[in-house]
């Protein structure tokens, strides 16, 4: 940690820029700048600061001088002359220019925000807006005073600091937005939903699964924008990827992918290549495990979910003669409790229950019967009514038991 803040690190940093700078002069300039910044920071109220504050101020100076030397040819001359004020002014002018660029990038990002909702994405964009209000480049130019929750497909290297980090992040985010715009938002949502239904609340990158499936679609020669990969496709992909040629094949796939997503500029193509290269080890380990289900996902569909969660098979229904006899017996009952007892004893099919309800349970009688049913049985009856209405929207029973059931369940839920 100490190394990081040291003036020797500063010298190495500037020497790495291959400028022939006298080390003693550089050290003197750094001291002078630190002294001047400390005095400004305390506004003359204090003759001392904590070591932590001094370190932060020094780190900011190192960052600023580095930015000045890299971006302004005059700055090296100022350093050689020992003109500290001019060095700092040159640095600030570069930083101000970067801030302006950053604000422009942020405005573009707000215009190209994907329609697919994700809390981390929106929180991060809000925080980036706040960054420009909080950023104090005159004292703490190297700091990033905001929370960046949304992780990019290609993370910004740790070596970037301050406004340079933010601008690099914004540029990468803009590229990701541009790529995502090539896909239908509903398709992207369906894909993300197959990872987790509450993907909107998760800390996850939107592009990563899209890119993986697009990569799969290219290999399968399927329409890229469909992003759909089923069980058969996964089997084909498994055999294809087992004979994968590494980097050479990756370039071909990226070329094909870019051709399908055209128009894309060089920077985006390079971004895609880097992103896929970083995703590939994950794919490779899935290939080794002979299981691509967690890598190449199938699009989420409501039907698929319902079919897999509810299965109901009705019992055999009574023959007509038996049913008529039972209806007669129930109709003769004086008390509802007797009717219910017979129902429990002799009726074992949903269709029979409904037939009997149609003619035997009048008014509030049906409510007493519903009390004796389990929640699943109540829901099944409701399902029967819905299906019946789908077949014939004008259907209604003579006794009105279906209306009573709807009212009963509504009251129960309330």
């Amino acid at each position: 940690m100490e190394e990081e803040f040291s003036l020797f690190a500063t010298k190495n940093f500037l020497n790495n820029l291959e400028y022939d700078l006298d080390q003693q002069l550089l050290q003197k300039i750094m001291y002078e700048l630190l002294l001047e910044r400390m005095q400004r920071y305390t506004m003359g109220d204090s003759s001392s600061v904590t070591i932590e504050t001094a370190e932060k101020l020094l780190k900011s100076i190192v960052f600023s001088v580095g930015v000045a030397v890299e971006n302004s040819s005059e700055s090296v001359g100022f350093i050689k002359c020992g003109d500290t004020t001019a060095v700092l002014k040159a640095a600030w002018s570069v930083i101000e220019r970067e801030i302006k660029t950053g604000k422009g990038l942020l405005a573009t990002i707000k215009k190209t925000t994907p329609e697919v909702r994700n809390r981390a994405y929106y929180d991060t964009v809000n925080e980036l807006t706040a960054f420009f209000n909080r950023y104090d480049y005159r004292f703490f130019a190297h700091e990033i005073p905001c929370m960046i929750d949304y992780q990019l497909c290609n993370p910004v290297p740790e070596s970037f600091e301050g406004i340079l980090y933010i601008n690099e992040y914004l540029r990468n985010l803009y590229i990701e937005n541009t790529i995502l715009q090539r896909f239908e938002p509903s398709t992207v949502s369906a894909l993300l939903k197959s990872i987790t239904p509450d993907y909107e609340e998760q800390l996850m990158n939107i592009l990563e699964p899209v890119l993986t499936n697009a990569f799969g679609c290219v290999l399968l020669k399927k329409p890229v924008k469909s992003l759909d990969i089923n069980d058969n496709d996964r089997s084909k992909l498994l055999s294809l990827l087992k004979t994968w040629q590494g980097n050479k094949d990756m370039h071909i796939v990226v070329e094909q992918l870019c051709a399908l997503l055209t128009p894309l500029d060089d920077r985006i193509v390079q971004y895609l290549l880097t992103a896929l290269q970083s995703l590939f080890p994950h794919i490779q380990s899935a290939v080794l495990a002979n299981n691509l289900e967690s890598v190449f996902l199938s699009l989420y569909s409501e039907n698929m979910n319902v079919e897999s969660s509810v299965h109901f098979t009705d019992n055999e229904i009574m023959n007509n003669q038996q049913l008529r006899a039972l209806i007669h017996e129930i109709s003769e009952c004086r008390f509802v409790s007797d009717k219910i007892a017979i129902m429990k004893r002799d009726v074992h099919s949903l269709r029979d229950i409904c037939e009997i309800m149609n003619v035997c349970f009048w008014g509030k009688d049906s409510i007493d019967y519903y009390h004796t049913l389990s929640i699943t049985e109540q829901e099944l009856l409701l399902f029967y009514i819905k299906e019946k209405h789908k077949e014939n929207p004008e259907w209604s029973s003579e006794t009105g038991w279906e209306r009573q059931l709807v009212v009963y369940l509504k009251t129960l839920r309330e």
């Binding site: 100490e2 020797f8 109220d45 204090s46 003759s47 001392s48 020094l58």
Partner: protein, 155 residues
């Protein structure tokens, strides 16, 4: 920061600090107080030890000169306890400075210390260094009587 760098920085500062307090004897003679060359060097060394212990870096004019100028008219200072008191005052200053979290300026803090030293502490550096910043500020702002009233209200 590296030790070598701090050494380089402090050597320059030490020579500045020494030159600064050498001029203070002219003012303190009137109160019967003076420092020898050796004592001055000891004080400057102690200043840098205090800074290191409290994790602070001083720049420009140090605080020692201000402490001498403010405290030299204290009725509790004599030639016998002058050097020892300055050592203690210097340590207490940096301690309180850290406690204040940069919310008090040097001048404010020294004024508070002087009022407390001459008033409640009656010249005792042990009393001054044993107090908390909060108490120091309260007693200086509201005086001893108000503090006693406040303490009474607590029970």
């Amino acid at each position: 920061m590296k030790n070598e760098e701090i050494k380089g920085l402090t050597n320059i500062q030490k020579s500045y600090a020494l030159a600064e307090i050498q001029g203070c004897n002219d003012l303190t003679f009137a109160y019967g107080l003076s420092l020898t060359e050796t004592q001055m060097i000891e004080l400057v060394e102690a200043r840098f030890n205090a800074l290191q212990e409290t994790g602070r870096i001083e720049f420009g004019h140090g605080v020692l000169k201000k402490l001498i100028e403010t405290f030299c008219d204290s009725p509790y200072l004599t030639q016998e306890n002058y050097l020892e008191t300055l050592f203690e005052l210097q340590d207490s200053f940096y301690y309180f400075k850290n406690e204040s979290q940069e919310l008090l300026s040097d001048d404010e803090l020294i004024t508070f210390m002087k009022i407390y030293f001459d008033g409640f502490c009656q010249g005792s550096t042990d009393c001054l260094s044993g107090t908390s910043l909060e108490e120091l500020c309260r007693r200086t702002r509201y005086g001893d009587d108000d503090m006693e009233d406040e303490e009474m209200h607590l029970f």
